[in-house]
């Protein structure tokens, strides 16, 4: 029962892609309501780590517990909590054949069993929240990248998740659209929802993160409060990385 106190508990996590060791003994505990930002060089395993939390990847060793539920390679182990964990992808992954509204109601209607009407009420509330209620009847391709990503966020929120995972939510966006998406995420952060965010937007990270994590070569190399993390990185690797990132 002690684990239920944590939103996410990862112990000695090991993951291989064929003969490549993507995650090498990762340990991470995320408390309820905590906001953790993960950064690190390309290929360091950030996406894989996040995807292990919602079973988009299975793991080869160690233990992953989400909201008290131990995840095994049996898909059923995740089914119980799948609606508690939302995810926002770099490429949005909206359903291109459905309107914005239908993108939002699909999960609530079919996975949660809501009737169409209450699902739509919920959807409109969340579109309001991400500031694009007027786009409800449009097809995703008619929206800008920033708007599409906000729809994707709203789509996740429609499931009323306890945990939100973001994997580089602004990396595919034109610079002028990044802030509108970050604003929405920042707004969520004040809500008490647990969040794990992979991003290289350091200004944003500084503002919202309770904890910063730096990954390299499949390990968590450094972690700490943003104030310490940015001012005084302990390891050289982290220092070099932050210097490179902050240069531009």
């Amino acid at each position: 029962m002690i684990y239920a106190n944590h939103a996410i508990e990862i112990k000695n996590l090991i993951k291989w892609f064929d003969d490549f060791n993507v995650l090498n003994n990762v340990n991470l505990i995320v408390n309820h309501g905590e906001i953790v930002v993960i950064c690190g060089p390309s290929g360091s395993g950030k996406s894989t780590l996040v995807r292990c939390i919602n079973r988009l990847e299975t793991h080869d060793g160690g233990n992953v517990k989400v909201i008290g539920e131990t995840l095994t390679n049996d898909p059923k182990s995740f089914a119980k909590i799948s609606s508690d964990v939302g995810m926002v992808f770099q490429q949005f992954n909206l359903f291109p054949h459905l309107t914005v509204l239908d993108n939002l109601t699909l999960g609530p209607v079919h996975a949660l069993g809501l009737d169409q009407k209450s699902a739509e009420v919920r959807a409109y509330n969340l579109l309001e929240r991400v500031k694009i209620p007027e786009q409800a009847k449009k097809m995703p391709h008619a929206l800008s990248g920033g708007q599409q990503q906000r729809v994707a966020i709203a789509r996740s929120l429609c499931m009323q998740p306890k945990i939100m995972l973001f994997d580089e939510p602004t990396s595919a966006l034109d610079p002028e659209m990044i802030s509108e998406v970050l604003d929405v995420i920042t707004d969520l952060a004040t809500d008490g929802i647990t969040m794990v965010v992979v991003t290289h937007e350091m200004g944003f990270a500084h503002k919202v993160a309770n904890r910063m994590i730096f990954m390299d070569e499949g390990r968590i190399v450094e972690e700490g409060k943003p104030s310490m993390f940015f001012k005084n990185p302990k390891t050289d690797r982290c220092k070099t990385f932050l210097n490179q990132i902050l240069k531009h």
């Binding site: 919602n54 079973r55 988009l56 089914a79 799948s82 609606s83 964990v85 939302g86 995810m87 992808f89 490429q91 992954n93 909206l94 359903f95 291109p96 054949h97 699909l106 999960g107 079919h110 996975a111 949660l112 097809m139 391709h141 994707a152 789509r155 996740s156 429609c158 499931m159």
Partner: protein, 258 residues
């Protein structure tokens, strides 16, 4: 379309030469509707359309269902299911239609009997089953490539909003894959129509069987088989025209969505 018109034109020339020349190799009287026997004959021959079309439509429908049932395990994460699907496709694709038809029509009832099942397979269902099974290997491949053309992110997004496997297929993957699947699937219908001619050997009264029967009584193979070829040509051209139309329609949707 150009090519089809050319072929049509060529046939038309042969036809004309037959009608006008006195060379004596043609004897169109056999299906000349202005004579009594000619009219009876041509009515009998054209009457085969009903069977051929019924046979093809039922077989195509079964093949579309069967193909999906074969394709889904073929793209699952489970290696065992994938192998099973692969074996089916390779195996069925390798069997020539005629031996399969004999096996289903003459062999399968023996199995049913030995199992104590009183299932009779008549010529129609024998042909339908054979065509459907044979074609399902191809439709399965069409489904597979169509579904695999949908990006992995779609499946993952569906999963993250709590949809199960069948909901993901039903609401997310198949609707998108459909416009890549539908045109080649319709094209497969042409294969079924042509292969349905084999049903003649187990006594199905379709176009080819009827032609054979008239040839046996009238000794006019050239005229009757020429007509037969035209009959299939008309059928196939109609389908191929419909497929083109479908492709255009689907194609225009595609440019809109991506």
């Amino acid at each position: 379309m150009k090519k089809n018109k050319l072929i049509l034109f060529a046939f038309f020339l042969i036809f004309l030469s037959g009608c006008s020349s006195a060379s004596g190799i043609w004897g169109w009287y056999v299906i000349d509707p202005s004579t009594k026997t000619g009219l009876t004959n041509i009515k009998f021959l054209i009457g085969g359309f009903t069977s051929t079309i019924q046979l093809s439509i039922v077989a195509a429908f079964l093949s579309i269902v069967l193909g999906l049932i074969v394709a889904l395990p073929g793209i699952s994460n489970n290696k065992f299911f994938r192998i099973l699907s692969r074996i089916y496709v390779e195996f069925v694709r390798a069997i020539p239609l005629l031996p399969m038809l004999f096996w289903v029509f003459y062999g399968l009832p023996v199995i049913f009997k030995s199992l104590g099942l009183n299932i009779n397979i008549d010529a129609f269902w024998g042909a339908v089953l054979t065509l459907a099974i044979s074609d399902s290997a191809f439709t399965a491949e069409i489904y597979r490539s169509g579904i695999q053309s949908i990006s992995r992110g779609q499946k993952e997004a569906a999963q993250t909003i709590g949809l199960n496997y069948f909901q993901t297929m039903r609401y997310v993957i198949l609707p998108q894959a459909l416009r890549r699947i539908l045109p080649p699937l319709a094209n497969q219908f042409i294969y079924i129509v042509k292969m349905s001619a084999f049903a003649s050997v187990i006594g199905m009264q379709e176009l080819t069987r009827r032609a054979n029967e008239i040839v046996v009584t009238e000794y006019r193979p050239l005229e009757v088989y020429t007509l037969l070829i035209f009959e299939y040509l008309v059928l196939v051209l109609v389908i191929s025209f419909a497929v083109r139309w479908l492709e255009r329609k689907m194609g225009s949707n595609e440019s809109l969505n991506n």
